[in-house]
Each structure stands twice: as C-alpha cells, then as structure tokens.
C-alpha cells in the first residue's frame, strides 16, 4: 500500500522543478506569477508530508527529487547536453529515496 507521503513528495518535487526553471527562464509577469505559485505549492505540499514522516527526511527527499527533476528538465526541455554521470547520480538518488521509504515503516 502506497502511503500518502510518497505521492505528495513527488508532486512537491515536480512543483519545485517548475519554480526552479521559472527562476532561470521566466521573462514576463505571468511567468513570474506562475513561478511564485509553484514555489508556494511545493512548500505547502512538503509541509503536508511532514505529518507522515520525519521532517528532515521530507526535506532531504524534497531537495533530492527537485535536483533530479531539474537535471532531467535541463536535458529534455532546455537543451543541456546529456552526461552519463548525471544518470548515475539520479540512479543513486532514487535508490536512496526508495531505501528511505523501506526503512521508514
């Protein structure tokens, strides 16, 4: 059974990728409004997840998913060249996240 935090945190991570991209690429007022809304959404979602798991775990997973998502977005959406080390670090990161899920029962 998936516990709620493992749905909330990926969503929070996704919103984080959105506002991180916004900080880099936003050029108009609507872009900035969207960026701020995504930032607030990601923090709000993360604050929900804290109900279900240790605070520092939420933060670490949140930062981790944001970093992995940003690397993928840079590659897929923003034309940054693909590097093998990036894939290796993302694999290490996901292994850590899955491991944490297993031990936090």
């Amino acid at each position: 059974m998936m516990r709620p935090q493992w749905i909330i945190l990926p969503l929070a991570g996704l919103a984080e990728v959105g506002w991180a991209a916004g900080l880099k690429h936003a050029e108009s007022v609507p872009d900035w409004v969207l960026t701020v809304m995504l930032a607030v959404t990601s923090l709000w979602l993360a604050s929900r997840a804290v109900r279900y798991m240790p605070t520092s775990t939420v933060y670490t997973v949140f930062v981790g998913l944001g970093a992995a998502g940003t690397a993928v977005a840079d590659w897929l959406l923003f034309g940054v060249a693909f590097h093998w080390p990036v894939l290796a670090f993302i694999a290490l990161l996901l292994a850590g996240v899955i491991g944490l899920q297993r031990v936090s029962d």
Partner: protein, 109 residues
C-alpha cells in the same frame, strides 16, 4: 569576479538558514502555526537571498552543492539531536546516498 571571503560566509550562513526553514516545518507539524510560518518565511527567505548574493562570485553549481549539503546534513543532525528522529544506521546511509547524489548532480551540471 574572484570569490570573496564575504561571499563564502554568505553561502555558509544561507545553508544554516535552510535549517531554520526546516525547523519551521517541524513547528508547523507540532501545531505551532505562527511560530512555524515565521521560521519558514525568515529561514527560506534569508537563505535564498544570501545564496543569490554568494552566487555573484561563487560558481553556481559549487554554491548550490555546498548550500544543499549544509541544509540536508544539518537538518538530519538537528532532527536526531533535537526532534527525536530515528538514528537507525540504515536510514542515515540512505540519507547519505541522497545527499551525495544531489551534491554530485550540482557539481557535474
């Protein structure tokens, strides 16, 4: 621009303010709404402000790697010392994997 001592200090303090922001989450979770929100806004706000100052002279990838390293390791430490979070070695190993992966990602990109 050569990295200055002041910018390095700004970077270290910005990492420390991340921990303040995370402490805000902990307070919110304990039902201390006002205190929690205050810590969140002051913590993450000052943290981002100082990070952007540090990035004026310190390379973005390096700055972000150090910043997240301090934030994640610091809040894990605070969690264990002050908020009674689990100290299971396996949990710490997985946290370590995530932190190394994030630092690595920021350094290679």
């Amino acid at each position: 621009m050569e990295p200055t001592t002041l910018h390095w200090i700004a970077l270290l303090v910005s990492g420390a303010f991340e921990i303040v922001g995370v402490a805000g989450f902990d307070r919110l979770n304990r039902g201390q709404r006002l205190h929690g929100l205050l810590l969140l806004v002051v913590g993450f706000g000052s943290s981002l402000g100082l990070l952007s100052i540090a990035m004026r002279s310190i390379d973005m990838g390096v700055a972000y790697a150090i910043f997240t390293g301090i934030g994640t390791l610091g809040s894990t430490l605070m969690g264990m010392l002050l908020w009674g979070e689990s100290r299971r070695p396996l949990r710490l190993a997985f946290v370590g994997m995530i932190v190394s992966a994030v630092v690595g990602l920021k350094l290679v990109s």
